[in-house]
Symmetry: C2
């Protein structure tokens, strides 16, 4: 048996203060209609999986040390054998019919922290509304779905989400993050109750400054709670 | 670059009614001290990842359809390059220095449902106390640790655990499952409160039969709750 190729693919969720977006790349289409995909690349010889995903992200954002987590490995023998993908594969791969196993990662970033860059694997990268994903190459729609449900689960246990907030934040800012990721609206009182009762956050003896409206109380992450 | 080998490894947790165990295999030791490992095998040509893990489990237990879930992929370039593993690799692999990327799965089974079988990849399989794992081959101790923490997380959200109970169970039986997996003791009243307040289970209008002590009320899984 010939060994399969191994790649990583990254589902990068970006928050702009209001809405959840996902980072897509445009692949050269070789006469096909416009072709979108998740950013990813083949694993290099001496590279660990996490390093490989971090490299993909670094090429697109210029940033290192972003929150990045595995969310599943996809290895269906037919996952890169859809006729829709063949023209592109024929142009870019030595063996376009070779099996590819891909390790999926997801990341969560503030979109305001960086600009998107071109990379070795993508001429153009762009943000797209995470609630209206177009048809993607290969099984990337399935990978996206799994990443989104992983993100939502992690959020509901408050394992992620704080990456998108300043160190000191208001409960309204925190609610905006949760509403964007879950694509729904919460009752303000219930959200506050949950955040405070479950002790995910700690109230500070400080209020917002420099706002025109009545300044709101500031909170910070309860790091003791986060360790359990 | 030469493509890496790809394998699956399974962390099979078994519950005997009291304690949590894990299924280990003994690898032929070729003059070394006794060599233990997690059961696993190389991926076959036309096999999906889930199918491959299910095959490993079927060979060891004779059972299909067991609860089986990915819990991480391990691909450190040096993960099979420890000198302790070289003699074994030299005996069984054509290229003992080839990189191997492994997809880890965990399973949760009732030990009373089956007997262990020999398999193509293990002359002997046996149960071992999950709280006292010996030194294992390759990075299998790390894989075990990750599987155990995944299992514990899933248990705390009640996504797993019911596999180990009959359809109708007492809260004491449920508590025994949780205590075994978390290796700790809970206060009976608090455990009951949590199970009932969070509506993970539904009380039935039935009691145990055929027991010498005072028969306890029976409960069943709240399937509506499980779907969220």
């Amino acid at each position: 048996m010939q060994n399969p190729n191994v790649s990583v693919d990254c589902v990068v969720f970006g928050f702009d203060g209001q809405k959840l977006n996902v980072l897509l790349i445009e692949q050269e289409d070789f006469g096909q209609a416009c072709r979108f995909a998740l950013p990813g690349d083949h694993l290099e010889e001496e590279e660990d999986l996490d390093q490989s995903a971090a490299r993909v992200l670094r090429e697109l954002t210029g940033l290192s040390g972003l929150y990045l987590q595995q969310c599943g490995t996809f290895g269906d023998p037919s996952r890169v054998k859809d006729p829709k993908d063949l023209p592109w594969l024929t142009h870019v791969r030595k063996d376009p019919t070779a099996r590819v196993i891909t390790i999926a990662y997801y990341a969560l970033v503030k979109m305001t922290d960086f600009n998107l860059l071109a990379s070795s694997f993508a001429a153009r990268a762009f943000w797209h509304d995470a609630n209206e994903i177009p048809r993607l190459a290969f099984d990337h729609n399935m990978i996206f779905d799994q990443a989104l449900s992983t993100l939502r689960r992690e959020l509901s246990e408050l394992r992620v989400g704080f990456e998108l907030l300043p160190n000191k934040f208001t409960l309204s800012q925190m609610q905006a993050v949760h509403e964007a990721i879950l694509n729904s609206n919460f009752d303000k009182r219930n959200f506050r109750k949950k955040a405070l009762n479950d002790q995910w956050v700690v109230a500070l003896d400080e209020k917002q400054t420099g706002v025109v409206h009545k300044p709101a109380r500031l909170y910070t992450r309860n790091l003791e709670r986060a360790q359990n």
